[in-house]
């Protein structure tokens, strides 16, 4: 007997779109059809005027725990996530201590099991301490820690030979290496995109080449080693072109772009407000346009948030001293719906099933909303009111931090409900715990 | 003073509309001539007398006065100008005139300074001028010559030489220029 019914919406998933209600029984989808009968005592979530989709998947989130709980915790970050329609987050390993050992990865997993409102998939570092010198124990982390994505995010691996070895080793394990592409010698001293704006504002710049050179190197190494490489937060037109050409040549690489890289430019830095400081930096209009084209034509496989909380004090420093990073989980979907001129299926592909595929599949995630067998996986869905308008406010939000560059922006599209593994975790825009 | 600011700062004071002319240019000439004689009489000659015109309305009148004095006594007196913009007590409310220059050609210690202004109203500009003068030395005496005294004093200031006493309402305005002295009002 159904105990939860999502009523009155239109289901959009990898197989297409249809008007249907979705009925759950003990966490699993049992019925997907129009006008379901609602048994007495069942919870009803009104999805009138809404899209019902598989929950969103973020391949790039900073939860800050362990080490920087003043900015965010696994609990507060995951709450922010479910409010934004996310059911699955890949946690970045630049915590303190770094997620480069089985102990820390297991700690994060356990903590998530206790506190997180949605599923947390820990990633791990490629190198010990993300120091770029010695490989982390990838086999152990994969076998026992179940890690499938390795990244030194926050940094890129600078040493070419070390990156080659990491790729060869990763290929043997069948895991994915995700790269934060930044040649530190070229970027050194920079705090914003190097261009007309940095010249005017007198802030040292990071040239596009600092990113493109590493993208180019990793493509060559991936060709050499056959490893599976995922490019994080692409930000330049040049990077998009490189990935496009590589895919056209048949290479199995994937790429993500963040919401801020398709909605904001380096002109924002004119206010010298460190809320606009991020790595890779906000780039030019031409770069933003190229990212949007890349999202539309399949060059870029996923929209990621790179949700990077920082305390208010940290972001009140002089621009060049402030840490880079912006929030993203609660605004990503709305920004994608408002700013990209793409049909909802394409947006959901970029934010749900394609990221899930990059990770390599997730238990309790299905790109198709369909009835399952008796002991089938529990399902996670989000219900999106695609016409609701709302304005990002200066306080509010579930994150512990508030470093969002979108304060005051009016967006169209809002998550009404989120069901995580069969449990309604967000009802009418309110987190249930 | 109100007239001066209003005339040269159009966005702030509005436009002066004359209602009646109270002195013709000839009247002004005659008044200056008379005042010159009064200065000589009062000071028993022109020894150590210095003429200083207040920016900007007092400057042309100071020149006229100095010329008349020269004609009468055949003596060329030191002639200076004083801008009191930086001494006003109503700072923050009055704009500064870039072309208003302070030029005091002699040390004022021991001198008899005749300050010259076009209209005497509340007395605040003269107070500021007295303040400013002390930065140039300690005069033996300071005397005040004005073309029009329109009343409404707010400080204990009184003129020594007056061209014309003109009772006015507070909301009226007095304009002294090369075409005479007019009484009227300022309208936005």
């Amino acid at each position: 007997m159904l105990d939860l019914v999502i009523k009155g919406g239109r289901v959009v998933d990898e197989s297409g779109e249809r008007v249907a209600d979705v009925g759950f029984e003990t966490g699993c989808i049992r019925a997907v059809e129009a006008d379901l009968d609602v048994p007495v005592g069942a919870t009803v979530l009104d999805a009138g005027g809404c899209v019902v989709a598989p929950a969103l998947v973020d391949v790039h989130t900073h939860l800050r725990e362990p080490g920087r709980e003043d900015a965010e915790t696994i609990e507060t970050g995951s709450r922010s996530a479910v409010l934004g329609g996310y059911g699955f987050l890949v946690a970045m390993p630049n915590t303190d201590p770094t997620m480069d050992s089985i102990e820390v990865v297991n700690w994060v997993r356990d903590r998530a099991a206790e506190r997180a409102l949605c599923h947390i998939e820990p990633s791990a570092a490629i190198t010990v301490g993300r120091g770029g010198e010695a490989l982390a124990p990838m086999a152990e982390l994969h076998r026992e820690g179940l890690v499938r994505i390795f990244t030194d995010d926050g940094r890129g691996v600078q040493d070419d030979l070390l990156m080659r070895r990491a790729m060869e080793y990763a290929r043997g394990l069948g895991v994915t290496l995700a790269q934060h592409c930044e040649i530190e010698r070229l970027a050194s001293g920079g705090h914003m995109n190097e261009g007309a704006w940095s010249s005017k504002l007198g802030i040292p710049g990071i040239p596009a080449a600092a990113e493109e050179l590493m993208v180019s190197r990793d493509l060559a190494l991936a060709r050499l080693t056959g490893a599976r490489v995922h490019f994080q937060h692409l930000s330049t037109a040049g990077s998009v072109s490189l990935v496009r050409a590589a895919k056209a040549a048949g290479m199995a690489v994937t790429a993500e772009a963040t919401t801020h890289h398709f909605t904001l430019t380096d002109a924002e830095v004119a206010s010298y407000d460190p809320v606009y400081k991020v790595n890779p930096p906000l780039r030019t209009e031409a770069d933003v346009a190229a990212i949007r084209v890349g999202l539309a034509d399949g060059t870029i496989d996923a929209i990621a948030t790179d949700h990077a909380p920082h305390t208010r004090e940290a972001k009140e420093a002089p621009f060049d001293q402030a840490p880079p990073g912006m929030l993203g989980l609660e605004t990503a979907l709305a920004l994608a719906l408002t700013e990209l001129d793409l049909p909802i299926e394409r947006v959901l592909a970029l934010m749900s099933w394609q990221p899930a595929r990059i990770i390599g599949g997730l238990a309790n995630y299905g790109s198709r909303i369909q009835p399952t067998a008796a002991a089938g996986p529990a399902a996670s869905l989000c219900v999106i009111d695609t016409t609701a308008t709302w304005t990002v406010d200066a306080t509010g939000g579930a994150s512990r931090s508030r470093n969002t560059p979108y304060v005051g922006r009016t967006l169209t599209g809002r998550v009404r409900h989120t069901v995580i593994e069969g449990q309604p975790i967000v009802i009418d825009g309110e987190a249930q715990r | 003073m109100a007239e001066r600011e209003r005339r040269i700062t159009p966005p702030f004071g509005g436009v002066f509309h004359a209602r009646t002319q109270v002195m013709t240019p000839d009247d002004i000439q005659r008044a200056v001539w008379r005042m010159a004689h009064e200065v000589i009489e009062r000071n028993h000659g022109l020894d150590n007398v210095v003429i200083i015109g207040l920016q900007t309305g007092g400057v042309p009148l100071a020149r006229l006065l100095a010329e008349d004095l020269q004609q009468i006594e055949d003596v060329e007196l030191p002639l200076g100008s004083l801008d009191v913009a930086f001494y006003r007590d109503d700072i923050g409310l009055r704009p500064v005139l870039p072309e208003a220059v302070t030029d005091i050609p002699v040390d004022l210690a021991g001198k008899i300074v005749v300050l010259v202004d076009d209209v005497l109203f509340t007395g605040r500009t003269i107070r500021a001028a007295l303040d400013a003068l002390t930065d140039f030395g300690r005069p033996r005496a300071v005397q005040l010559a004005v073309m029009v005294d329109r009343g409404h004093r707010e400080l204990p200031i009184r003129p020594d030489y007056v061209g014309k006493n003109l009772p006015t309402r507070r909301d009226e305005a007095v304009d002294v220029g090369p075409l005479g002295v007019d009484l009227g009002e300022v309208r936005k």
């Binding site: 261009g195 007309a196 010249s199 005017k200 504002l201 007198g202 802030i203 040292p204 710049g205 206010s271 010298y272 407000d273 004090e313 009140e316 420093a317 002089p318 621009f319 060049d320 | 003073m1 109100a2 600011e5 209003r6 966005p11 004071g13 509005g14 913009a85 930086f86 001494y87 006003r88 109503d90 700072i91 923050g92 409310l93 009055r94 704009p95 500064v96 870039p98 072309e99 208003a100 220059v101 302070t102 030029d103 109203f121 509340t122 007395g123 605040r124 500009t125 003269i126 107070r127 500021a128 303040d131 400013a132 930065d135 030395g137 004005v146 329109r150 507070r170 909301d171 305005a173 300022v186």
Partner: protein, 332 residues
């Protein structure tokens, strides 16, 4: 005008106002008692995170000559505590009741942030590579003193443009006043993407010198050597230094300027720095009256002059002048 954070805050009209007002303050500075009570009762604070005794003293002298009280927070003393955030320092200072804060910091944009965090008027005394507006103003004043109007004047700014806040402010100021500005530097010392700047760029100093009215030299810092921006200082001097021989080839009436401090023998030959055409001493001397003009405009009665020309982001804060015109405080 609420703040002076960039030359852009002034525009051509604003620059003219400052320069005209400077004449008055030059006169005041020349008096036996070089003081006027224009800013009596106001407090001006120097907040210097980067030590610069010369600039700080210039501002403090300017404030004192206007009758204002001054306070100093400088990184050399213990009042700028290590670890206390800039924002906390600003809030502490404002709690003491100040009217203007003069800020110098090694990071670009700090004056903009200080203006946002506090309520006082803010003057940028130099922020990283970004701007040094009062330097540009005193440079304009000096040029005008020596050569008259800047309109049509050919000004060459020579040296490390990329890292120079003086260059950035000067480009804006000189161009606003109608000068033709040429930047002369090797490509490594020029900012990228400056096609939109109102300048011509040259890498050949010898080609530019014979036709310039002003040769404005920038300091060539020792640190640039380690960043591979020029191979050696010797090469820099050979290519871009104002040597005796180059100075001899300047047009008759041309002047040589430098914001100081100079590296004699590097960007300028020692002997050239002492020639009659070198204006460095006047530049420093003009600094005080120029800064008096700026402080007066921010805190004195000058704000209404700019009432119609305010930035949308900077409310004038001044009462409506029309109400205060005739009646209450009319003087005579």
């Amino acid at each position: 005008m609420r703040h002076l954070l960039s030359i852009d805050d002034l525009g051509a009209d604003g620059i003219e106002e400052v320069l005209s007002l400077t004449d008055s303050f030059v006169e005041v500075s020349g008096r036996a008692i070089p003081k006027v009570p224009a800013l009596r009762g106001k407090t001006v604070v120097s907040l210097f995170f980067e030590d610069s005794t010369r600039t700080r003293l210039s501002f403090e002298t300017a404030a004192k000559r206007l009758g204002a009280d001054t306070m100093t927070f400088s990184v050399g003393t213990s009042s700028v505590k290590k670890g206390e955030s800039v924002r906390d320092t600003v809030l502490t200072i404002e709690a003491m009741g100040v009217d203007a804060i003069v800020v110098r910091h090694a990071s670009a944009g700090v004056p903009v942030q200080v203006a946002r965090w506090g309520t006082s008027a803010v003057v940028n005394a130099g922020d990283g590579w970004h701007e040094h507006p009062t330097q540009a103003l005193l440079d304009c004043y000096t040029i005008r003193q020596r050569l008259g109007s800047l309109a049509g004047r050919r000004i060459a700014i020579i040296g490390d443009i990329k890292h120079s806040r003086v260059a950035r402010s000067n480009v804006l100021a000189f161009a606003a006043l109608g000068a033709e500005v040429t930047l002369v530097a090797p490509p490594t010392l020029l900012p990228v993407d400056i096609d939109g700047w109102p300048v011509v760029v040259s890498h050949d100093l010898d080609a530019v010198l014979p036709t310039c009215d002003v040769a404005y030299l920038l300091r060539m810092q020792q640190e640039r050597m380690t960043e591979a921006l020029v191979p050696t200082l010797r090469e820099y001097t050979a290519e871009y230094g104002l040597t005796t021989e180059r100075a001899d080839r300047l047009p008759e009436a041309a002047i040589v300027m430098h914001p100081g401090p100079m590296n004699r023998g590097v960007e300028i030959a020692g002997e050239v720095a002492d020639r009659a055409e070198a204006t460095m001493v006047e530049q420093v001397r003009n600094g005080v009256p120029v800064r008096m003009a700026v402080l007066f405009l921010l805190l004195g009665s000058g704000s209404e002059m700019f009432g119609t020309r305010q930035h949308a982001s900077a409310p004038s804060g001044a009462s409506e002048p029309s109400e205060a015109s005739e009646e209450e405080t009319v003087s005579a």
